[in-house]
Symmetry: C2
Subunit: 256 residues, 2 copies
């Protein structure tokens, strides 16, 4: 069982070794720029940790974990565009459209999504493709609700915008470890709690979402409750979940 | 062997029966709008016709043919955006961003691409996913070169922007008919000629690309030469290629 930092190093290594389609040419630069920038790699690390907890070596999940990070990065690049959130900065750097122009950012996002599926296709495992595609579509559905200002519960919105990629992280880790679908339920329930935890802390840090609705303390309380439920879910699994528990605690106390 | 019109009806039926991910919610409307509008469905019809010429029933290629049309439609929706070609009209109707707004068009395009891979993943055939992803990446690479005004041969640009999806149409039809990779070469060479033919006629009709470089007559001459080579390629195949020959002639004389 490798610690989160070791798993993160494996993710960085996979991303560094990722060979993009040569037809993309110089579009590789904005794509690499988007993939860099010091993200925490929470989703792919979760994917690898689930794979190990389920009894397989993390290397077996490196490909879908990388594909998942590509999907996540695609969503950031497109969400930052002027037509959507119109963000100029991300993690202290200019966003892709500020650095490279809007047309290039649009295409770089498209390419990241297509590369994710190219990678999943290369695995020869259709369940990777289905898991990724379903999560991507749920996330897009959430972004659409957000953009159109639909009246809905924040839980539902976050469940789509954030929760679906967390669910996919768990799902891809389980498929990688060949956990049959009938045994995946309790693991996936853990992933759902982790998604809520992540989002509640995110909102507490940013002062929006749950923090706007419940106040910063309310968002922190919600996060604490989700963390507790996540731990309970782990306790119910017949597996060594020490690293997953460490991920829960890391998410609960993060400050950036 | 079914005639092109019958194959087109099969494509329309598959598109009409396509169930989008329910998480997309009301984003389904702009997606359906983009998929409608009276396109000629050249790529999916080609896919089905190749499948039949290679000895299988077209129904077996309906899924990848539909996925290919989704990818094509994704590319139209994004290319029409203000950041790229900034087109207000397509086939006599307002483009998606004019009808639904830029944010929704961006998300609808993303969703079309993800739905294409969801569909390909559902097939359980990784070669469908790889064929689609490779073609999509090549097409994006071509669009990037176009946007950045890179100095290059028109053939190369068109080979990416148009050619890759035509190549995928042939490839997906061949995979659907279980034609082994070592026998695919001559079929794929036919697809390449068809891509050139399509683009040269397109440019002659629009007065750009090859028509701008060679004049309208020059573009038509190029189209005629590509049509001839496509027929020669068909002649070299040990298969009933009558319907494919009909597609070549249809593309060569089209006026819209």
């Amino acid at each position: 069982m490798r610690a989160p930092d070791e798993l993160r190093a494996l993710v960085e290594e996979s991303l560094a070794e990722l060979r993009l389609d040569p037809m993309l040419g110089a579009l590789e630069e904005p794509i690499r720029y988007a993939l860099g920038g010091g993200g925490k790699r929470i989703r792919p690390v979760l994917c690898l940790a689930v794979c190990e907890a389920a009894g397989s070596r993390a290397e077996g999940a490196a490909l879908p974990a990388t594909a998942l990070e590509l999907v996540h990065t695609f969503s950031l690049v497109h969400d930052d565009l002027p037509a959507l959130d119109d963000d100029d900065e991300r993690r202290g750097r200019p966003t892709v459209h500020v650095a490279f122009g809007e047309a290039v950012a649009l295409l770089a996002g498209d390419a990241l999504l297509a590369e994710a599926f190219a990678l999943a296709g290369r695995s020869g495992r259709p369940e990777f493709v289905r898991e990724l595609a379903g999560a991507t579509l749920g996330m897009i559905g959430g972004q659409y609700l957000d953009v159109t200002g639909a009246q809905m519960q924040l839980e539902e919105l976050h469940g789509l915008k954030t929760g679906r990629l967390f669910a996919a992280a768990v799902g891809l880790g389980l498929w990688s470890a060949d956990v049959p679908v009938e045994h995946q339920g309790p693991w996936r329930a853990f992933g759902d709690e982790l998604g809520v935890l992540f989002q509640a802390v995110d909102d507490a840090l940013d002062g929006d979402g749950y923090a706007a609705e419940l106040g910063p303390d309310g968002a922190r309380r919600l996060a604490g409750e989700a963390a507790q439920r996540a731990h309970e879910r782990l306790g119910g699994l017949d597996a060594d979940t020490a690293v997953l528990a460490e991920l829960v605690d890391g998410l609960a106390v993060r400050t950036a």
